[in-house]
Structure formats: structure tokens, C-alpha cells
Symmetry: C2
Subunit: 418 residues, 2 copies
């Protein structure tokens, strides 16, 4: 049985432009792991009438509605009241919920604040759901064939509650599911129509569905297989795609390009250091975001000033004076100097003009030089990337990673995109 599931995220900040709703994606990811699919997602503000309307509408057209947000202790947390209004159930002080809140305060040694009692006011006949990472308990209620599950809006609390308390019950509800199998191939260096063009006439098994997504600067190609079918079909489809897109596939599924590079370095037993100017630490941050980064990452230098490039990386004053800090020679010298200083197997360097200011006629905003020092050679090259500051920085850091990935692929026999 396939459940029709909707997500409702509540909070003024989600529709005011202040922040983006990330809970929906997080819920969808958790559900997908168990074979559930979200059909629709909505955001409404902290407005009791609008929350109630959304709850009623979603309950009519779905079998499960997962709600996040508005369970907190402050006055603009209105979800429980709105649920009561939507389904005509008075709010009652829920003894079990109150117990859960008091337990949390007791266990974490936090000072009890009477404001938190408000969080135990739930619609009649609701079941309280424990919150192991925060004060607000969730709750579960049923209305005319629809299960409504209310979780906190704090992403960490929501995710923990969803995983531990909600998913097992959903699985009971529908007696187990055949999960949708999906494989995501992450493509770097080809546009979406180019990818589709290259795949025209590809001999994919008929059971495989395909879809596209973009996560700048990557294009994601999704291969999907519904139901209990043999995952060898996905392998066959992936093989077919790889034959046509080849080395443009830089990562797969949950792995990022940085994660892939980190894994390849670890497998090869190689150490990396990075020298960054215009990316200002972005590349180092991506690499060290990976648990276990110390296995392959030695150090990074964010050499914003010319003095730093000269002192730490040994870039000569002559290069800085004659060619300037944004030049092929400077990038090459940065990579060489970095590798010598850190005594790592590889070093990569990035220097450029991310904008909005600093561009010239000769070197406009978006001009970026990348260099790699590895084995017994250095290579360096200039690019002109488009878009705003954050896009130039992202693209530059991705390109540097891609240089490392291609170097490792050419060097070893392992398949780099896996």
C-alpha cells in the first residue's frame, strides 16, 4: 500500500524570506529511506486560522500529514491551538506530555521555566510523542482516516523524533512497503540539455525512470526503480549512463564531490594541502566537513594578502609585482610552495577575483587560476566563471576538487565517480 503523505511546515520565518524551509527535505530523506514518498509540501506562517485551514485541506487529500513547527513555548507558537480548532477538539493539559517535559528538564539539569507548561496543552485525544533532544513533545492525532503527526520545528529535534518515534509507526500503519530504489549520479561540467542530449537513445531498462535536478554547479541525474524489483536493473542503467557521460560523473548518491575526493585520497593513502585566496577557506571547509578528514587533509592556507602568499607559500615578490596575485604563475607558485611547506603528496591552489569589486578589463570578475602540484609536476590554468561572488567561489572550489579527482583517477585504477 502506498501512503499519500503531505508535509506542513509552520513558521513566519519560512514565508517571510528570513530562512528557507529545510525540514521538508529532511523529512523526505528520512521517509525515502523507508520507501515512503512525500506528495506535497506546504508552508504557512504563525497564523492560527491559516494553520487550521491547511490542516483541514491536507487531511482531506492525504492519509498522513507530517507537521513541523509552532510547538515552542512562546506566544507565536500556535500549532496545537490551530489543530484543536481545525478538528473541533478542545485543548487540555496533557498529563503525559507534562511529565515528558519535566523529565527532560530533570535529566538535562535545566532550570524549570513555567512557560514550558504551555507545551503540554494538546488537543483532546492526542497522543504525546517524546522529544529526546528538546523540551517540546510532539503529538499524534487521527481525524477521519488521516493520521496527523506534529513535530517541533527545530531541525535536530524534529529529525530525531521523526526517525525514532514516527517512522516505526508509519511502517506499522501500512504493513511494510517496497521502497523506491533510487540512484543519483552527480555530473560536473555538462549542462542539463547536454546531459539529456548525450543520453538520447540510451538503452536503459524499461523499468527505470529518470529525472533531473540541479545543485549548482552540479546536474543530478536520478535513476529510479519502483517496487520490489532487482537492483541489478539500476546497475545496468548506471553502466549505460556511465558509458555515455563517462568522467563527467563526479559523485553518486549521498556522497559529495569533496567526499569522493576525500575517500579517494584516504584509499590511496595520500595527504593533501590547499592554498586559497579568493575562495577564502571554502575548499578547506568542505574537506574538513567530512568526518575523518585528518586522514587525508594536512593543512590549508587562506592567503588573502600578498604578504601571506610570499611568507607562507614562498610566492616571489617578482611574480606578485609583475604578474599580480591573480595569475597563472602565482597559482602555480602557491601550489608548489604549499606542497613544500606541508610536505604533502598533493597541493592545490586557487587565486582569482570573486567580485563584486576588483575586476579590471584584462582580468574581469570571475577570473580564477587553479594549480595542482602532484607527482613530479605542477599544472595551472585560468578560467572565467560567471555569476555572483558566491557562485564564482563555489565554482572555483569545485573545479579545484575536480582537478584532484581527475589526477587520482588517471593515477590509480579505481573508478573515480563511485
Amino acid at each position: 500500500m502506498r501512503l499519500e503523505i503531505a508535509v506542513l511546515a509552520i513558521g513566519d520565518e519560512l514565508i517571510s524570506g528570513e530562512i528557507s524551509d529545510t525540514n521538508t527535505a529532511r523529512i523526505a530523506n528520512l521517509l525515502r529511506g523507508r520507501g515512503f514518498v512525500v506528495r506535497e509540501a506546504r508552508c504557512v506562517g504563525d497564523d492560527e486560522a491559516r494553520i487550521a485551514t491547511a490542516l483541514r485541506e491536507l487531511a482531506r487529500s492525504h492519509q498522513v500529514v507530517l507537521v513541523t513547527g509552532g510547538l515552542g513555548p512562546t506566544r507565536d507558537d500556535l500549532t496545537a491551538r490551530a489543530a484543536g480548532q481545525a478538528f473541533e477538539r478542545p485543548l487540555i493539559l496533557h498529563e503525559e506530555a507534562l511529565g515528558l517535559i519535566r523529565d527532560f528538564f530533570h535529566e538535562t539539569g535545566l532550570e524549570w521555566d513555567p512557560r514550558n507548561e504551555k507545551q503540554a496543552l494538546l488537543p483532546q485525544k492526542a497522543l504525546a510523542i517524546p522529544n529526546i533532544t528538546g523540551t517540546a513533545p510532539g503529538f499524534w492525532m487521527r481525524h477521519e482516516g488521516c493520521d496527523l503527526v506534529f513535530m517541533p520545528g527545530v531541525p535536530e529535534e524534529m529529525a530525531a523524533m521523526c526517525e525514532r518515534e514516527v517512522l516505526p509507526h508509519l511502517e506499522e500503519l501500512c504493513g511494510g512497503l517496497a521502497p523506491l530504489q533510487e540512484r543519483v549520479l552527480k555530473i560536473f561540467g555538462l549542462s542539463e540539455p547536454r546531459v539529456e542530449g548525450l543520453l538520447d537513445g540510451a538503452d536503459l531498462p524499461g523499468e527505470i525512470g529518470t529525472a533531473f535536478g540541479v545543485d549548482y554547479p552540479f546536474v543530478h541525474l536520478k535513476l529510479r526503480l519502483a517496487g520490489e524489483r532487482d537492483s541489478a536493473l539500476l546497475d545496468r542503467a548506471e553502466g549505460e549512463v556511465r558509458e555515455r557521460l563517462g568522467d563527467y560523473i563526479v559523485a553518486r548518491d549521498d556522497e559529495t564531490l569533496a567526499g569522493n575526493v576525500g575517500r579517494l585520497l584516504t584509499e590511496a593513502g595520500l595527504k593533501l594541502s590547499v592554498a586559497e585566496s579568493c575562495t577564502g577557506g571554502l575548499l578547506a571547509e568542505w574537506l574538513t566537513d567530512i568526518p575523518g578528514a585528518s586522514n587525508f587533509f594536512d593543512r590549508g592556507a587562506v592567503t588573502y594578502s600578498n604578504e601571506a602568499k610570499n611568507e607562507w607559500l614562498g610566492v616571489s615578490k617578482r611574480i606578485l609585482l609583475d604578474q599580480g596575485a591573480v595569475s597563472e604563475d602565482c597559482a602555480r607558485a602557491m601550489a608548489m610552495g604549499m606542497r613544500q611547506a606541508a610536505r604533502t603528496d598533493l597541493a592545490v591552489a586557487i587565486t582569482g577575483i570573486a567580485g563584486p569589486a576588483g575586476g579590471t578589463a584584462e582580468k574581469p570578475v570571475g577570473t580564477v587560476f587553479i594549480a595542482l602540484s602532484a607527482g613530479d609536476a605542477e599544472q595551472a590554468k585560468g578560467y572565467r566563471f560567471g555569476g555572483e561572488r558566491y557562485k564564482v567561489r563555489r565554482m572555483a572550489a569545485c573545479m579545484a576538487l575536480e582537478w584532484i579527482r581527475r589526477y587520482l583517477a588517471a593515477r590509480g585504477g579505481t573508478r573515480p565517480g563511485r
Copy 2:
């Protein structure tokens, strides 16, 4: 006149968990600048029937529906078809749209791909909207008192189209609006209930509304004033809040804590360098994300290995051996060494255990030491931060910024939170 506006974001990737929808927040921000408010936001996948249903429902209950996504050239881009189906209008090859697409290819020197012709298939009586940054034109249609505006899903293209082509028409539609005035105070170091408790009984002007938001690890307090009222009321409210929350307010409105620190450093004519271990470049990345960062930022060291701490920052082998890299002495030595190496006015250092591995009984995951070298002294202190790796890293980088902000506040006479 206040328009009822809804946003509909289309794409499988938005409800599958692959990415979060950021377009809604971007649209809401653009609208807010002109006094418009989004009332509801929805996401549906690339499914013609579901898109059509959402369009019909939203058109019934709103005066304006802003749609993004699904205008691309590939087979899973179904928005124009769904719009045609929803309002019973056949698709036609729209000559003006085709001209806009051809113009874009001509101007950017891209090779013409016949697949792009699909992007000119629009519902009858739709008006094409030019896309200056990409191939897919948008379109505008009216159905029974509702204006529906269709924009591409690529955030940059969507934002440019919304700002240049859509907002001016919306303003015409309602003959100009008195914008909602809002001030956001960003609070660091107090929980949401603590903030609400401190504000209990505050003498805010009656016209001022308040709301809360969380952007980890910050609490946002929003002061709102509707209509054409005097913004001095906001100033008065802000003054009242500052008296109660004082120095916990670390930034205001669009400024981030990093942006605030960067501005204070620039105003004071001071230069900063940073030495990072567990944050791995995150702090440097935040600081260099600010245009003009070279005015206050000299360099950063991502000294992941002990060798790097010793060679670049002069942390003695004795400290690394006796106290370890995660220690107060090491943090202090890192800050001192960084400041000496870079000859900057200030240097800040972070070392800790971000997890998930690497913790011990004595130094569990979340143990972080921060040090600041400035003026004629160094200070250092240990913390124990909660949560996952990314939370520990974020909290550590924020705390280091807060140290700098407080140092600058104590040093100069300027108000640090402005």
C-alpha cells in the same frame, strides 16, 4: 490594498529530500522589500496532474500565484502543460517566447539546441516574460481574478526575472503599497524562552508586533510595524529591547555576526588573522564571504595537523605533547603565533573536537578551546558545545566571532550590535 500572494515551487527534487526549496525564501525577500507578503507556499513534484491541482486550488484562494520551476527543456519540465490543463487552454508555439529564446542564444554565443524550442510552448493567451540570464522565458496568465506568474526554477534566473519583470507589474496591479517595516535583532547566547522572559513587561509601543525565529545558534527577534507609520516607533522599540538584552544583540537586519565584525574591524582600521583547527576554514570562509574582506582580513591558517600548528604558528612540541592539540594552552599559543606570523592587530584561534569520533572521557566531542590575541594580552577559554559535527563547528566559529566583537565593543565607543 493588500494582495493575497502564494508561491508554488515545482520539482521532484524539492519533495524527494534531495534539496531544500530556497526559491520561496528568495521570492519572499524580494516581495518584502516592496511591501508584499507571502501567505502560503507549496511544493509539488514533476507531476502534471498534481501541478494542475495545486494551480487551481491556489488560484481560487489567492490574487497572485508566483510559480517557479519546470520551465526547462527536458521531459520532466511540465509546468506549461500543467497550466494549460488546469485552466483548459491549449499550448501554442508562442512566437514572442521563441524569439526571446533565440535572442538569448544569439547574444551569449551558445549553440542552438532544438530541444529549447519546447520552452516556447505556452498556454494560449499567456504573455511571455524575458529571461536575461537563461534560456527559459517566463509567462504570465490571468484566470478569474488571479494573476499567475511562471518563472524558471534556477534561483539566479528566477530572482533576476522576479526583480526586473514581475515586481514592477505587481506594484502596478495594486497601485503601490505601504511596506511592512521590520527590524530583526539577532541574539547570541540566550535561548528563546530566556529572551521572551527578559522582555516580559517591556514597554514597547502598541503599534509594534514581535515574532521570534531561530537560525542556529542565533535567536532572531523581529519587531514589525505595519503601514505608513513613523519608523521612530521601531527605533523606540529597539531601544527598549536593547536595554533589556544589552550586549546579547550581535547583529541587525541583513547583517550577519561575521559582517558586523568585519564592519567594526574596517571602521577601526584593524586587521585580523585566524587560526582554525576543528572549524577547518569555516570562520575564514564566513569572513571572506563579505565583499571587501581584504580591508580587514589578512590571512587564515587551517592547521589540522600538529606539524602545521608547530611550523606555521610556533605551537611548541611540548604543549602538543603534554596538553595536546585540544587544550587551552594550545589555543593560546595558536592565537599568539598567528598574530606574530601575520603581524595583525588581532588573531583568534579555535581548536577542538567536532566529532563524531575523536572524543575521550576527559575531552568529549564538543570540547572546544578559543583564544584571542589582541592589544597586549591573550585570553583563552574552554567550552563544551552540544550537537552534531556541523553544530559544534558553527557554534565554535560563532563564539570566536563573538569574542572579537566583544573585544572591539569594549575597546571602542561604537555600539557593537548595530
